[in-house]
Symmetry: C2
């Protein structure tokens, strides 16, 4: 039977509680849909850093490279600065495995509430596709005249044809699988006058290959406003590394799903493993109490299965989540319930 | 008596309808509070461009430099690209008059609705302070290998100590005039690793001068989410040119005030004229119909008077707007009423 090899990295804080529930549901899906998961467990985290001075071993990336996908919990802990924790684990994984797509569904789930007035599940259901390797997150820049009045710092945004075209293509291909078939581009070509006009140019060029897809574009400032005012306008929204980052937090926020939303860091060609992780972080304030919500992790597991070709199993998990939320299944405190993390995991595993 | 010299630039579209109402109310305030306004009218617009090939005459900036403040309607019209209209009028004014502060109130007005559920006027009342001259909007960058597969473009973000410190200082000074005395900084130092850590460094340094002010900071992605989830957390929010741009559209959007919000482009030292304009644009779809809402323009007039030292008059205008909205005075269609643009202007002039 089909076997998928998964690197499991719970990481920090509540990641250690959500990942086991994610695995519980994945395991149920494997049994039901007839495939095998071969798991390799890695306990890399900020604790590892505090003990060894590294977030992962020197050959960490080589170890992960053996897997088909990486199933990650959360990275980050008070006392360990981001440039250590994120840049020692999360960012190197994204970059060395060329996970050039960050994909996040922004979906108002039945039985949950959006912070927006008068919005129901039919109004908020779109994807944000973010470029995940270049753009505004560059390693080119520096500081001059340090410590003086003349001091200044620079950072180059870098947009390559290679990098821009492939993320745009992914967005158009994704839109083709959706009923509304629409792509919205995030730009700022009226203010950022070298890189953003280029982005617009490539967007227009790519659109020519997809005559069946409707397109539009907005400057990032007004686009953020539209997310709040008209979330129903959107289907697939594509943006640069920074704009996609902003929109893929704002999108789940307007959907009221930031605590339960999943995210995928994808290498679409499957030359390298892709990584699946919930949008929420390690949540130090509630870590260790077994009260956190595992749905973001479990939903990330569904995205992972879809990426691995197990579409039916992915759909079954998503349906189970929707049903549990809509029909008043066990809920953790963030959703107004009393259930523990494992109660939710067990209910979903059973439903699958 | 005190005289203020104002350059009046209605610009395009509904700017031509809102500016006269703004002037009507300013005139009422001048009579009531005993100062004079000397107006210089400039009909520069996209029409000017279509006739003359320029948005303003060659010595346009020199003409404006004679004034104490600039009262602007809206710039932009279909058929004239942004890099002509904005970069031929709006941006040169901001830059040559060193209007390094863009200031926008984000305020849920009584009698109007926020798109957020269960939010009232007490929940949304903060300012966004945006750096308005450098940062991500730079003129340094370029393109290599055009037309080939190797093509790429770059744009440098540039943050100077001079530029960063003065906008941070402005934000702290503003917070000192407010009851909550809090400044929130927008950063992204976990991803944009040259410029943003510098911004954080200067923020921490500036905060030392203001021991009475509470501070916090968020990465721009989660900060946008917080605007939606917790608008009540904010008092004064300070950001770079790009982050401030995003937040100063998102802020009015969550406050439900994007159609009526004002904005100020300020040179705090008053070495050069400052510019006051509504947040909304030229609205080609409703231009010429005399149905647009003049409140954004009139509120911008109040900000202008405050800048010119006429605080009492500014307060009177703001109170008149609040009263009209709260007590069911004449409303334009965007607010569910039937009134024309001038009806609202007249009502407010009278109230002042
Ligand atoms: C016109 C455009 C360049 C501008 C900006 O981003 O500065 C606009 O969005 C604004 O906020 O005034
Ligand atoms: C951790 C941080 C650098 C990261 C990013 O901006 O990429 C985070 O915000 C995310 O979206 O995963």
């Amino acid at each position: 039977s089909r076997t998928h090899r998964i690197a499991v990295v719970p990481g920090d804080g509540i990641g250690k509680e959500t990942v086991p529930e994610g695995l519980r549901v994945l395991d149920a899906a494997a049994r039901r849909f007839g495939f095998d998961l071969k798991l390799d467990h890695y306990d890399w985290s900020c604790e590892t850093y505090q003990k060894t001075g590294r977030m992962m071993p020197e050959d960490g990336l080589e170890q992960l490279a053996q897997s088909d996908s990486i199933f990650l919990g959360a990275v980050g802990w008070p006392g360990v600065p981001d440039h250590i924790s994120l840049w020692g684990l999360l960012i190197p994984i994204r970059r060395s495995f060329d996970q050039y797509i960050s994909l996040r569904p922004c979906k108002l789930m039945p039985g949950t509430k959006s912070p927006l007035a008068n919005r129901g599940p039919a109004d908020i259901d779109f994807y944000v596709v973010r470029e995940n390797t270049e753009g505004e997150y560059s390693s080119s820049g520096g500081r001059m005249f340090p410590g003086t009045e003349r001091e200044f710092v620079t950072q180059d945004s870098v947009f390559t044809r290679h990098g821009v075209d492939r993320v745009l293509k992914y967005a158009f291909e994704l839109a083709q699988t959706r009923p509304r078939k629409k792509v919205t581009s995030a730009t700022k070509s009226n203010g950022i006058t070298f890189t953003m006009p280029y982005w617009d140019e490539r967007f227009a060029e790519m659109a020519k290959n997809y005559p069946g897809i409707t397109t539009d574009q907005f400057h990032i400032d007004i686009l953020c406003a539209h997310f709040v005012q008209h979330p129903d306008w959107f289907d697939v929204v594509v943006g640069s590394n920074l704009f996609g980052d902003i929109l893929s937090d704002l999108g789940p926020a307007v959907a009221g799903s930031i605590g339960i939303a999943p995210s995928a860091n994808i290498n679409p060609e499957k030359k390298h493993p892709s990584m699946f992780e919930p949008v929420h972080g390690s949540a130090p304030d509630i870590a260790g109490k077994h009260i956190c919500n595992p749905i973001g992790q479990i939903w990330s597991g569904a995205m992972m299965l879809e990426h691995l070709g197990e579409k039916e199993a992915a759909d079954a998990i998503l349906r189970a989540i929707e049903k549990l939320l809509a029909e008043g299944g066990p809920r953790t405190r963030d959703l107004g319930g009393q259930a523990g993390t494992a109660d939710v995991g067990r209910a979903l595993a059973e439903a699958v």
